[in-house]
Symmetry: C2
Subunit: 226 residues, 2 copies
């Protein structure tokens, strides 16, 4: 198991693309692999976008896993085209939660990582996105890391570069890595499947666009800001 | 989430069939569901056997999940027909270990359980079988239980009726439940895919048959034993 290799859990969205750019910088392109999951989500376009981005970044090892049975075991508005995507009420999970998704993805990613001698598994989950998603919390990720190590008697590290960042800070990171414009134009975060700027109306677009506006605001000179 | 319902992770082997009989006795047939995983294992016959047994036991809800990508992310002698099944050397895992299998199965089972309002997830794993399988250890199961609860913000219980039993004790349990003969004739544990008594030569058959012989020995009168 090599310290110098990494596997990025890669959706082709803003967060995981930023993580991919960061991983390439830190580990070197040839030491970075990607894994993408297709699970019958509304925007199956996501997989095509992920493939294109991984190719644009020159990633030679990009594994795509089909989990088309996911909507047989649970449902929500991302998996069921008949459900409208709703914003979360204060007391409830948003109906875009896919139960168990990150645990499933991290488990499969770790099995693949082990087979390739990779120790570090990088994920773009963050608590800023929490808004009711229990499997984006740091406490879940740490527990999952321990369980993975016990399951396979090994020493994985789940790495979460964005865990404590706001969306504006994630845009700032993309900018420092020189990929802000690329991320803005080519990634897919929108629940309605619109690449780049997105539909502008779904919860995911609102979060993304608000973050970008906030980051751009910080770039203005103090004089302009006043 | 109801205390009175259970989901059995069900392979159609000796252990999970004994667990199923126990679950039916404790929860009532109508409150027991089964879930079976097909993952490109050598003996895909296993799924057919599992279906037949679940039907024989009158289980109305039996979910079968296809994971035919498993051999794309790892390999071993159960998934690769070109590898011979070898017994473990003292220092090494046997080459029948499928990395991450139980963690993956428990995660998918829990997602399904949650969607059906089921709290208790029953698995036949036991440390007797450990022989190098890290994901049969009690410490793994307990850690996985915590991670599942954090992942889905819920209160699953992973139940392991066989954790501390020897194979002979599992046969004794089947006998007390009135299913010893059924288990002996209808379950599939053999790595070479022979239902019932099995090939008699693979590690799994040796464990099973030795356990049965040992249990039968205990049934003899003290006079016969002497």
């Amino acid at each position: 198991m090599e310290r110098g290799k990494a596997l990025v859990v890669f959706s082709g969205g803003q967060d995981s693309t930023t993580c991919l750019a960061k991983a390439i910088k830190e580990y070197g392109r040839e030491n970075v692999s990607c894994i993408t999951f297709f699970y019958g989500q509304r925007h199956s376009l996501e997989v095509e976008v992920a493939k294109k981005i991984a190719a644009d970044f020159g990633i030679a090892d990009h594994k795509v896993i089909q989990m088309d049975w996911y909507n047989q075991i649970t449902t929500n508005s991302l998996l069921d085209p008949n459900l409208e995507i709703a914003r979360a009420e204060a007391s409830k999970c948003p109906n875009t939660v896919v139960d168990g998704r990150n645990m499933l993805f991290f488990t499969v990613a770790a099995v693949y990582a082990k087979s390739r001698g990779i120790r570090d598994i990088i994920t773009g989950v963050c608590e800023t996105d929490f808004s009711g998603y229990p499997d984006c919390r740091d406490v879940f990720v740490k527990s999952c890391n321990v369980t993975l190590n016990l399951a396979m008697d090994t020493t994985f590290r789940l790495v979460t570069p964005l865990m404590d960042l706001t969306k504006a800070e994630t845009w700032a990171l993309a900018d420092r890595l020189g990929v802000l414009e690329y991320v803005e134009k080519n990634t897919l975060t929108c629940y309605n499947g619109v690449v780049g700027a997105g539909c502008g109306k779904c919860p995911s677009c609102l979060l993304r666009n608000r973050g970008l506006a906030e980051y751009r605001q910080t770039l203005k000179s103090p004089l302009e800001n006043s």
